[in-house]
């Protein structure tokens, strides 16, 4: 038993890392849902595009020899900004083309459209990378090779950077939404589009802004993900997106802090589940059940507290 305890710190760290990625992706779902009450199913593909854009930026810098001469920190910022910009722009374009004409339609209509966008983007990226690099599994150049070791726990430097960046982004977003004028407009539209519009808020602009920010967050998550796990493919977002959405609902959809809590908890659950299930059941059940674990806990939370961990109790409209 003592060897399984020995790996606990490492398991927790890996779970936290994964959890922060989930959290950052979950933010995109939560932003759009909070404002439009709409599951942006294609957000997982925005994440994937961010990962590809960031990786491409690094690969291009690498092949042109710039990467070696830059401090890794600068390269990371360039990749992050590029990934965020591309992902944000695609998210805005996606809203303009595939969602805006459908606003006001029953909610299944934009959902199906979003599923269409998701399929489309997966294969579009594949087509692009296939033509451009003749390969669609990309390895991301490694920026930080060092690993810090605390007694028996290894913490790669890139993981620390990932967590720090995630926290900074979330703090920034929280401040933006709660402390700025635009943030107030955003909250107003989220509360009641009609009234916000009467009060002089340009609803379309705010919706575009929502997709821009949500997309950029997804893009940032993608770049950090690529940096952490150094392997991406056009289908990488799909499973991860479902889990991140789970995390958003778990934490209480529409709630920024909730997305973070939900993501981290889900990451931990997954990591702990896959590490210990096999040991606890003597091999009868193993790591392959980790997704079941995550979903079952989700279902339990929703039954006991349907609005999620941090969501407010929703009053039924009479």
């Amino acid at each position: 038993m003592h060897e399984s305890l020995a790996m606990l710190p490492q398991v927790l760290i890996d779970g936290l890392t994964l959890g922060f990625v989930y959290a950052l992706v979950a933010l995109g779902y939560t932003m759009v849902y909070g404002v439009l009450e709409f599951i942006n199913f294609a957000h997982s593909e925005i994440f994937m595009i961010g990962a590809f854009a960031g990786t491409e930026a690094l690969l291009i810098m690498q092949s042109s020899g710039v990467l070696a001469s830059l401090p890794p920190f600068v390269a990371l910022i360039i990749a992050l900004l590029f990934g965020m910009a591309i992902a944000g722009l695609i998210a805005v374009g996606m809203e303009r083309i595939a969602y805006r004409p459908l606003r006001g339609a029953p909610r299944l209509v934009p959902l199906i459209s979003a599923i269409g966008v998701s399929f489309f983007l997966q294969d579009a990226v594949r087509l692009f990378e296939g033509l451009w690099r003749n390969a669609f599994y990309l390895s991301t150049p490694v920026l930080y090779r060092q690993t810090l070791t605390f007694s028996r726990v290894d913490v790669p430097v890139k993981t620390i950077i990932l967590v720090a960046t995630c926290l900074a982004i979330m703090f920034g977003l929280q401040t933006f939404v709660n402390r700025t004028k635009l943030g107030r407009a955003l909250r107003a539209v989220a509360q009641d589009q009609a009234t916000a519009s009467i009060m002089g808020v340009n609803v379309n602009f705010i919706v575009t802004l929502t997709f821009l920010i949500g997309g950029a967050l997804g893009g940032a998550a993608g770049v950090l993900f690529a940096m952490q796990y150094t392997l991406i493919h056009p289908y990488v977002g799909f499973i991860l997106g479902i889990k991140a959405f789970t995390a958003a609902v778990f934490g209480g959809i529409g709630n920024i802090a909730g997305a973070m809590v939900g993501g981290v908890v889900l990451g931990l659950v997954e990591s702990l589940g896959s590490a210990y299930l096999g040991i606890l059941t003597h091999g009868a059940f193993g790591a392959e059940y980790k997704d079941v674990f995550a979903f079952i806990i989700l279902i339990l939370v929703l039954i006991l507290k349907p609005s999620g961990l941090l969501g407010e109790t929703v009053l039924e409209k009479a």
Binding site: G34, L102, F120, L121, Q191, I296
Partner: protein, 438 residues
């Protein structure tokens, strides 16, 4: 363009109410398929001519006669000329049943189910386990596989198992609304798939990722019904029953109760509708359609594995319902036809055609541009375009047509506070109070 459409409409008016003309149309396309059996366009025309039966203003008995003749004689005839079409027809039939089942849950009762394929899997595994040697791993003393004669009993068991699964899923999640319901059903679907994938230990029940094969075909008194044509008529028979059940439900008190729940759950409850029981019934009914077709699918395929029941399948069936028109029975049928024919026929043929062109050197396309690789891309585009230009689906449900078009007519910037804010699917966290970004 307008005049062309007008002329077409005029021509249609002359054809539409004459049984002979409609029958002639079908006969003509049949001949076309018979003459050029590998042509995709002939087959599509043939399917189109079937549609005219639905749209024509013929008397019921003529419609019935033509439909029976076409489905009972003409289509099987085409199928013997080219068994591939028979396989397409069977797959279309299976998906029609699935679409009708999901249509009950999503279209009638307004409960968004993203894990619908789990019920299909339940039905499939019920027969697969007992109709193969698989059950011998955990039940001793019986000689497995059971003979094909047992299949008929297992059809009912599959229905029962799927309906039970539907109720089991329904019970805990009934309190959930909208997207929460969607994610839980999605999770449920995934759980079922993962469990099926892993139940090869500690006791080997499902044979895990290796899947189960060979699975017995149905039989009557020892006479094996394993040919395509047998499955065709089996699927057709079950489908007819399912359509009849769905139609009866739609027009019954139950159907109206579902509609009321969809529109406003609280009001429905206040009017004395047993909301919980009705929702469970919707889940169970929808699930049972999938369950029975699951058993048929397993025996037809002779092989099933958990990958056949992935999330993409659920989404595919949902797309069929949406494409055809939510709550519309003919819509679900058409939606299923379109999606299956698109996937199996049109895209496949296009990519074959492109590769032929490249092989013969007519077009010099790089290998990466092979269209067979980008079916999902085309499929995605079709979905988006449909939703933007025809959200009511190909055949809108009469009752819902109004509300859907009404919602679209709204000024998108300033939605009317009382109207579409509570979306007609009715599953949302109701507008106003529940929304917001914290």
């Amino acid at each position: 363009m307008k005049t062309l459409l007008g002329r077409l409409g005029g021509a249609w008016n002359r054809v539409g109410d004459r049984p002979l003309a409609v029958a002639g149309l079908i006969a003509a396309t049949t001949v076309l398929v018979a003459v050029i059996p590998r042509s995709v366009i002939a087959f599509l025309l043939f399917i189109g001519s079937l549609l005219t039966v639905y749209y024509s203003r013929l008397e019921g008995r003529y419609k019935l006669a033509i439909t029976v003749l076409t489905l009972g004689v003409v289509l099987p005839g085409i199928g013997t000329l080219n068994p591939y079409y028979l396989d397409v027809a069977i797959q279309v039939g299976i998906y029609m049943a699935l679409a009708l089942g999901l249509n009950i849950v999503v279209g009638f009762a307004g409960l968004l189910d993203l894990g619908y394929v789990a019920f299909y899997a339940t039905g499939a595994y019920v027969w697969a386990i007992f109709g193969s040697k698989q059950a011998a791993n955990f039940i001793h003393g019986v000689n497995f596989p059971l003979s094909g004669d047992w299949f008929w009993l297992f059809l009912f068991l599959a229905v029962a198992a799927a309906a039970t699964a539907g109720i089991l899923l329904g019970l805990p999640v009934l309190r959930l609304k909208g997207d929460y319901l969607a994610i839980v059903t999605l999770g449920f679907g995934e759980i079922i798939r993962i469990v099926l994938n892993n139940l090869d230990k500690p006791v080997n029940i499902t044979n895990g990722p290796n899947g189960i094969t060979p699975i017995q075909s149905p039989a009557i008194f020892g006479y094996k019904l394993g040919k395509g044509i047998h499955y065709y008529f089996l699927v057709l028979l079950i489908l007819l029953i399912i359509v009849a059940v769905a139609k009866r439900l739609e027009r019954s008190r139950i159907g109206r109760a579902w509609e009321a729940i969809r529109e406003d759950e609280v009001a429905a409850g206040a009017m004395g509708i047993p909301v919980v029981r009705m929702k469970l019934l919707a889940f169970a009914m929808g699930a049972s359609f999938a369950g029975i077709m699951g058993a048929v699918f397993a025996s037809k395929q002779t092989f099933i594995d958990p990958n056949s029941f992935s999330f993409m399948e659920s989404i595919g069936v949902l797309a069929m319902v949406i494409l055809g028109g939510m709550g519309s029975i003919p819509g679900a049928l058409i939606g299923a036809t379109c999606v299956v024919v698109l996937q199996l026929q049109v895209l496949k043929s296009l990519s074959d055609w492109f590769s032929q062109l490249r092989n013969t050197g007519v077009l010099n396309l790089p290998a990466q541009l092979e269209i067979a690789k980008y079916e999902k891309l085309v499929f995605g585009l079709v979905l988006i375009v449909m939703m933007i230009y025809r959200p009511t689906g190909l055949i809108p449900a009469e009752r819902r047509k109004h509300e859907l078009e009404h919602a679209r007519g709204e000024d998108v910037e300033v939605p009317e506070p009382t109207g579409p804010a509570a979306p007609s699917v009715g599953t949302g966290v109701p507008g106003g109070d529940g929304r917001g970004l914290a």
